[in-house]
Symmetry: C2
Subunit: 436 residues, 2 copies
């Protein structure tokens, strides 16, 4: 062959897995999907490519710089950078065909041309749920989201995680009460608390022109501690004369009460007044979720309540509440921290190994097993038996059936447990019973 | 609100579904995936964006014009236009980490900027399987693929479909025997038989410079009819002195024999000597699958054997066999032809409807049902009971539980079958039993 070979490689910042890791990844995705469906969320799937005019209707900000935007012919198009903008567009576009509250889940890839760095991806899966109301939406929905987060992470195999909650109305109202009308930059600063520490927050607030006394008040406010009930009581005791503040407390108290009714154990949810979320569009309840033993992973699932989903596309007022799991990043981090391992991942239950020349019997038995929904592969290549066993071993296939002259003569087949090495001689009916 | 609204819309040539249709679509995709896994195929997932240099290594042809290709910074990148090129790249890149035969499935979106027309999509799902050998691959694999096609379409709800098979060696060998060395353009012409009819084929072959007598020979050759065994016998009887031709017959006979052993009913597979597939890279067995009652849908599942998968990336010889289902197009066609309908599609089993004020009990019962894996939604908004029932009705949710004062007092809840209208009063334990 004389032609020049191209080096097979992918772009930096894209995750690609070996099949064993992919099986693990898919299992996590299936678990998430199953929980979303169990709570009555409907699937949608939107195009990865959309009109730039639509996708970037909001415009500005860091996000727009990261967008993959290009022209084909005269059409200006972009790859979606999240699943929220497509949801807003979808709900506006099909408004008359949807039933409200509209509960949708969406699991799909999104694209951001971020600067390449370890653990950050340019293509990643988001797993989103949102409940969108028409004009109004009960506050109880804000409590159902954490109960779904709990159900999902529990089934993903975690016990020790905490859903931190807050309500943005409380802090915004408190800032109003302190006569700080432009709350957005202050909230964004407080959102950095985990990253830059209390001193960093203090410094940045000073740069925003806040007085020392005010900063101290904010600092001690966001550090109010105690049980959920105690925090709510302390907030009430502040006796702040601000409507937004008091509405926030009332909402938070209701959400806390209902999270309990939804059966989430006390240890798995907690009010934290410093949780504010960076995004401007949240207006009420906000969530972040941390794995207790791995706080350095950051929030693995975040979300919140917003007043109006689709202001760029429709005059309908569409309040909602939702959350998102960034699965690609989560998977990467769990694997890096050795919390999940692909060592034993296999979808296939059994590999049938015929001795050379006994392929027909192997096919016949595979038919029987597959008819019983037993995930079965046949090793169809000729070669040494040792190599065939090695194949099962490397693919982590837990069982092997060997078929040779004796087996066919006696109509009894050797079933080997690849983990224990145990072998038994069984008729086909018994094989099926064992493998089911 | 004074700001200008952007009209919510998507680009032409992209499919987007209502949730009810999406549920149907996902069910089809799940069925396909389940069958792929049952036969021992491993999942992979590759980036949608790849380096243009890698993705377009082959270059030229219609495909390249259709590719979404763009630059971000200095990087020249493209969206994948099929799943075969990414497979070739993947196998070459991870060669030393994979076990051969490497059986992979890949379900994902691909992109082609085709001219927009009804039923053609610029973004569509392909569902591919391939078995890739290292240096060699048993011919029995060529028979396992049709048995998987059979299993999949059967579970998708079809009975009357036919997998048409051929082996390109036979026709290529026959053309060699007729002293026609440049077989590729002739095969591409014969591939158009369905589209342009026998006269069209004849005309094009004349344009290629073939003599009338030769064309007649080809014409009667590709029309050889009969049972599978009869066709093979007739081919043998031609007594063609060409090695390729005879190897092809031998392979085809083996494949036909093994398809039977794999349990595919006789009515579902058939040799057709006019099936050649347009793509150059097939070198042996080729498949196309037609729904017997809807031939106008064209082939719904095609594939075949190739000698070497990854000539552009590696010197390793990687023969393989595979097939692909174009799910987006298939779904669109089935829906257009009214073969599938979304009327009754729901993932949710039951909607709990509390009378205003009885939300707490609704939450409590939802917990119980979800703990038993019953897919449950609670209607949490206040409003008239009729509206709440209408919601269940429009979402095709089959059962409703009503909770009001009497129900809570007696600890007995009304379960309504939304299809029959039948209502029963039941304790929670009985509700669970009924809904499971």
């Amino acid at each position: 062959m004389n032609k020049r070979l191209v080096k097979p490689s992918i772009l930096p910042g894209f995750m690609e897995l070996t099949p064993a890791d992919q099986i693990l990844f898919n299992k996590m995705m299936d678990t998430i999907r199953k929980n979303y469906e169990k709570f009555g969320f409907l699937p949608i799937d939107t195009p990865v490519i959309e009109k730039s005019e639509v996708l970037l209707a909001k415009g500005g900000g860091e996000t727009e710089k990261q967008v993959y935007r290009f022209k084909k012919g005269n059409t200006d198009m972009s790859l979606r950078f999240d699943l929220t903008v497509p949801l807003a567009r979808y709900v506006s576009q099909y408004y008359s065909q949807l039933e409200f509250p509209f509960r949708r889940y969406h699991i799909g890839k999104v694209y951001r041309g971020e600067r390449s760095q370890r653990g950050r991806f340019r293509e990643f899966y988001q797993c989103d749920i949102d409940i969108v109301g028409n004009e109004k939406l009960s506050i109880i929905n804000d409590a159902e989201i954490p109960s779904l987060i709990y159900s999902t992470f529990k089934e993903l195999g975690f016990d020790d995680f905490t859903i931190y909650l807050n309500n943005r109305k409380i802090l915004t109202g408190y800032l109003e009460f302190l006569n700080l009308e432009d709350s957005a930059p202050i909230l964004r600063t407080i959102d950095k608390l985990e990253k830059i520490g209390p001193e960093g927050v203090e410094e940045e607030l000073m740069k925003l022109g806040l007085e020392k006394e005010t900063i101290d008040k904010i600092n001690s406010f966001i550090r109010i501690e105690g049980s959920n009930d105690e925090i709510i009581q302390q907030l009430k005791d502040l006796d702040v004369d601000n409507e937004l503040f008091n509405t926030g407390i009332e909402e938070l108290a209701t959400v806390i009460k209902y999270i309990g009714l939804f059966g989430v154990p006390k240890k798995n949810y907690k009010i934290s007044l410093s949780i504010v979320r960076g995004l401007d569009y949240y207006t009420g309840t906000v969530y972040e979720t941390f794995l207790d033993d791995y706080p350095s992973l950051g929030s693995v699932c975040s979300g919140g309540r917003y007043d109006d989903l689709a202001t760029y596309y429709t005059k309908q007022k569409l309040p909602g509440v939702g959350m998102s799991i960034g699965l690609t990043r989560l998977f990467y981090q769990l694997r890096e921290a050795n919390i999940i391992k692909a060592d034993e991942s296999s979808l296939t239950t059994v590999l049938i190994i015929p001795m050379d020349g006994f392929e027909e019997k192997a096919v016949e038995i595979a038919n029987r097993l597959r008819a019983e929904d037993i995930y079965t592969q046949i090793y169809l290549e000729t070669g040494k038996i040792k190599k065939k066993f090695g194949y099962a071993d490397k693919l982590n296939i837990p069982y092997v059936i060997v078929i040779g002259e004796d087996e066919v003569k006696n109509d009894q087949y050797t079933l080997r447990n690849m983990k224990t090495g145990e072998q038994r001689s069984l008729a086909v009916e018994e094989l099926i019973k064992c493998l089911k």
